[in-house]
């Protein structure tokens, strides 16, 4: 076939084909699907092996020393999210999580107040086929108790207490036996800076054209 020829017959066939494909698209509905197939055995074994969650301390470490990129997701209501959220956390409610486009290999870490909603969200996202989804064990309640306002264990060494205090201060909190002396603590500025830096880092590289 001579591809340089301007053949009216060929063009007519192409035009009809395009119009047909466009026409049938009206009745085809949306290509995205909300029904899924689940491998329940696989999900059960992930949970039993405890590969479905991270501890609050692990999350703190992931934020402070970013080795890889991940997305932190707050699944509570938007008011609670506005009042306080872990630095860098995005907000999505469960309905949004059922349909928002996530990349299949993205690492997602979910948290809620106590952990229940996050676990339900975990199940939804795993059902959608996402591979690397985790919850924060104990939710924000355990985050507050272990990271933000930790009580030093009895008999803890000075170094251990310093380390706990450093982590707490990074996020704007403090060790319970070292409360801040003034209202505007350097710690809260520090955490604001860190939060901004963390959030800006994630915006940085873009897929341009």
């Amino acid at each position: 076939m001579d591809l340089t020829i301007q053949s009216p017959k060929l063009l007519r066939i192409l035009a009809i084909a395009a119009l047909a494909l466009g026409f049938f698209a009206i009745f085809a509905g949306s290509p995205s699907r909300t029904t899924v197939t689940l491998d329940v055995l696989e999900l059960a074994s992930i949970i039993e092996r405890e590969e479905d969650h991270v501890s609050p301390e692990q999350l703190a470490s992931m934020i402070m020393n970013p080795a890889g990129t991940f997305r932190l997701i707050d699944v509570r209501d938007s008011v609670s999210h506005a009042v306080y959220h872990i630095p860098g956390a995005e907000h999505w409610d469960l309905t949004a999580l059922a349909s928002v486009r996530f990349k299949p290999l993205e690492t997602l870490v979910l948290y809620s107040q106590g952990g229940t909603h996050a676990s339900q969200a975990w199940f939804l996202l795993k059902a959608r086929g996402l591979r690397n989804v985790y919850t924060v064990r104990g939710g924000l309640d355990l985050w507050n108790a272990r990271v933000l306002y930790p009580e030093p264990p009895t008999g803890a060494s000075r170094a251990a207490k310093d380390s706990l205090h450093y982590i707490a201060a990074f996020f704007g909190g403090f060790l319970t036996d070292r409360p801040p002396v003034s209202r505007k603590t350097p710690a809260s500025d520090h955490s604001h800076q860190n939060r901004l830096r963390f959030e800006r880092e994630r915006e940085r590289t873009r897929d341009g054209c």
């Binding site: 395009a18 119009l19 698209a25 009745f27 085809a28």
Partner: protein, 201 residues
Amino acid sequence: MNAPFYEYGFFGDNFSLVVALITGIGFGFFLERAGFGSGRKLAAQFYLTDMTVFKVMFTAIVTAMLGLFWLSWLGLVDYALVSVPPTYLVPQLVGGIIFGTGFVMGGYCPGTSCVASSTGKLDGGVNLVGMIAGILLFGEAFSLLESFYNSSSMGAFTLPQVLGLSEGLTMFLIVVSAVGGFMAAERIEARYRNGSDNPIA
């Protein structure tokens, strides 16, 4: 089928560069096949003597648009994982105006100026150099332009959303417009072009 393949981790970033190279070769090949290595042919679009730019661009858009929809419908691609360029309405409008000026002045768009340069057109090379200068100019003036650059951001905003129509219907309307446009283009060419039907380089 788990596609887009890259999004499902079938290969990593290094191999994706090989994919990029191969894709680019296909891209450049078809651009030149259409005659877009010639600035005169590209500019002729805007003097109504040669509507190839319109025909090629909109055929490509319709082909890819319908192809993605139907492949997705068949379950062969997850089209939700294809990144839609975000909309920044006013900067894109103004950018389009400035770009359009440059297009007919320079005679090329960035992709075709590469094709022109690689097929020996010296003006294509000069056009490329100018484009690099323009990017540098933009970069240096960025602090002045930054707030405008980021204005009217609407995220991934699609025609079905703004028209309030289903995707299928929007696509059908685009196909109808394209086919109508092609028929009009044939008539316009016949009227304004004097001489042979298929001009050679």
